[in-house]
């Protein structure tokens, strides 16, 4: 049976088609600016971690994270930096740190946990660390936080 028709992009014949870019408000920042900010945050996180101030390191990295197209490098730096924080935090400290975060930051953290779990073997991702954080975060922020992560098109 001829199945080639299944591959036809029918959206091209629809003048009222909904584009990816219309699903969320684009980041107003310029990609180069986003990259610059990501690097600055990376440095700020290192400073905070050297003082073993995990909460302020996390707050810094989770603030206005890069999302959308054309900022892949900034996304990569941010994820890498975040993983450093997650990996260096003692598991007993995790609940207190999460409780110190704003709701926005908690939602963003959940996005990064899922992103990390979707990239096994990348960088120094460890599944058990991510799952540990995921468990504690779900206890505190609820299943609603997971749903918002699944829904949000502003992918980090």
């Amino acid at each position: 049976m001829d199945t080639a028709f299944r591959k036809i992009d029918i959206d091209q014949y629809d003048e009222d088609v909904l584009h990816e870019s219309e699903l969320y408000d684009a980041d107003p920042r310029d990609p180069s600016q986003v990259l610059e900010e990501a690097k600055q945050r990376q440095a700020a996180v290192r400073t905070a971690l050297s003082r073993s101030d995990v909460l302020s390191a996390l707050t810094t990295i989770l603030e206005s994270p890069p999302y959308g197209p054309n900022v892949d490098q900034a996304k990569e730096i941010t994820l890498q930096t975040l993983l450093t924080i997650l990996n260096t935090t003692k598991s007993t400290e995790i609940p207190a740190v999460i409780k110190g975060l704003s709701q926005d930051a908690q939602d963003t953290l959940m996005k990064y946990l899922y992103k990390g779990m979707a990239m096994p073997g990348w960088g120094d991702i460890s599944g058990s660390v991510l799952l540990g954080w995921h468990e504690k975060l779900t206890e505190i922020a609820g299943t609603g936080c997971i749903v918002r992560t699944l829904t949000d098109r502003r992918l980090v």
Binding site: E139, V147, R148, T151
Partner: protein
């Protein structure tokens, strides 16, 4: 028990609406027919079946003053049902009148306007049909609200002035439209939503913050505030309703909009809401995938969750402490029976399927509703002071709740 529970069926109830005097109930049991129930003592007994649609009925609304029922269906039609006397047998029967909707996708939601001279039908055709009666031809005609809707409209709600309409849509926006029909409406007085209101004027457009479908919308009793709630866009559920004037979204948040002032976004820690209703100018009840109705209250100063109408936490305490996450009701559900069953099967190779009496065999939810609540409606009281609300859900239950019996803050 602070609530009245009736099991109408073992199938999902897609929509329900009570007769004006609350002695009858129209419901659709996930089928092409409307079932009319009559109250006999403590029971609801099926008395009549309205069959005319040839696909699943998605929404029912029973007009409180004119005693007419309007139904919307996936067959792209709507019918208005009126009680008339059959000339041959002399019996009173429900007679359908077809509505010319002119839509090419399923009708998803229907609501009578406050004066009951119009109704709005939401549809998957990226349009809302505003229907009014044409005396000359003796049928219902429609006018379509189209722009700027980009996707299926999931819910609508009328402003008390009979002109403005709020709509929640799968394009992740809640909007307020003018549904002014020259032949029917008097010139509306200016409201907080605007003063000049020709048909299809956009009086407000609000995005759901985390990009969820707006499943339910609702104007406050005065019409000056809108609420909506949104849902996540995966696995579309037919019954996604959103709050208007308050939109509830599938991104697990409830939003309350003051058109001239602030917009409040209340993030909830539980699963998303799909339906909501206002119970007073400063409070509303929302329900959905978490199987229990939550009460929210607030003012222009701010909004917050007050608690649940379902005393699930109390039921749980009576059950004795459970392992795992305690305290938070919604999160506690993570470790209820089903979860434990799979965990044991995985970690210990145990199957509790045959083990009657084992605690892990218990997959009953602690909430009254055993599945998603798809519909919530005011049951008793003036719109500005509702005392009882009714809910129906996928579990086939009808529950009537006292809105003042809030169990446990969260």
């Amino acid at each position: 028990m602070a609530q009245e529970v009736h099991t109408l069926a073992q199938t999902p109830i897609t929509s329900h609406s009570f007769s004006p005097d609350r002695t009858k109930l129209a419901a659709s049991l996930n089928s092409n027919d409307v079932q009319i129930y009559s109250r006999q003592g403590a029971e609801w007994l099926p008395t009549e079946t309205l069959s005319e649609h040839d696909k699943l009925i998605t929404s029912i609304d029973w007009a409180p003053q004119s005693n007419r029922i309007v139904t919307a269906s996936q067959d792209r039609n709507a019918y208005v049902w009126q009680e008339v006397q059959d000339p041959e047998t002399g019996k009173v029967v429900w007679k359908p009148t077809l509505v010319l909707l002119r839509i090419n996708r399923a009708a998803t939601y229907v609501r009578w306007s406050p004066k009951e001279d119009k109704f709005a039908v939401a549809s998957g055709a990226r349009a809302i049909a505003i229907c009014s009666f044409d005396e000359e031809n003796n049928w219902w005609v429609s006018k379509l609200l189209k722009k700027p809707i980009r996707s299926t409209v999931l819910a609508v709600d009328w402003h008390p002035n009979n002109v403005l309409l709020a709509a929640g849509s799968a394009d992740m926006k809640a909007r307020v439209f003018s549904a002014y029909i020259k032949e029917v409406d008097d010139r509306p007085a200016a409201t907080v939503w605007g003063s000049k209101l020709p048909f299809n004027t956009i009086c407000g457009e609000y995005a759901s913050p985390a990009g969820g479908w707006v499943h339910t919308v609702g104007f406050s009793p005065s019409g000056d505030v809108l609420a909506f709630a949104s849902e996540y866009p995966f696995g579309y559920r037919r019954f996604a309703s959103q709050l208007t004037d308050m939109h509830e979204g599938h991104d697990s948040s409830v939003n309350v909009v003051y058109p001239t002032g602030p917009v409040f976004n209340i993030r909830i820690s539980s699963l998303p809401f799909v339906t909501l209703t206002w119970t007073a100018e400063n409070s509303l009840v929302a329900a959905g995938h978490d199987c229990q109705p939550f009460v929210f209250s607030g003012s222009e100063e701010g909004w917050q969750s007050v608690g649940s109408l379902d005393d699930a936490a109390g039921a749980k305490a009576a059950d004795g402490p459970r392992a795992g996450y305690g305290g938070n009701t919604s999160v506690g559900r993570l470790k209820t029976g089903a979860f434990a069953t799979f965990r044991d099967a995985d970690s210990r190779g145990q199957s509790s399927l045959g083990g009657a009496g084992s605690p892990t065999a218990d997959t009953k939810l602690l909430t009254v509703h055993q599945n998603t609540i798809t519909n919530i409606r005011p049951y008793q009281g003036h719109p500005s002071q509702v005392s009882l609300v009714s809910t129906t859900g996928v579990d086939g239950k009808l529950v009537i709740w006292d809105v003042n019996a809030v169990a446990g803050g969260r």
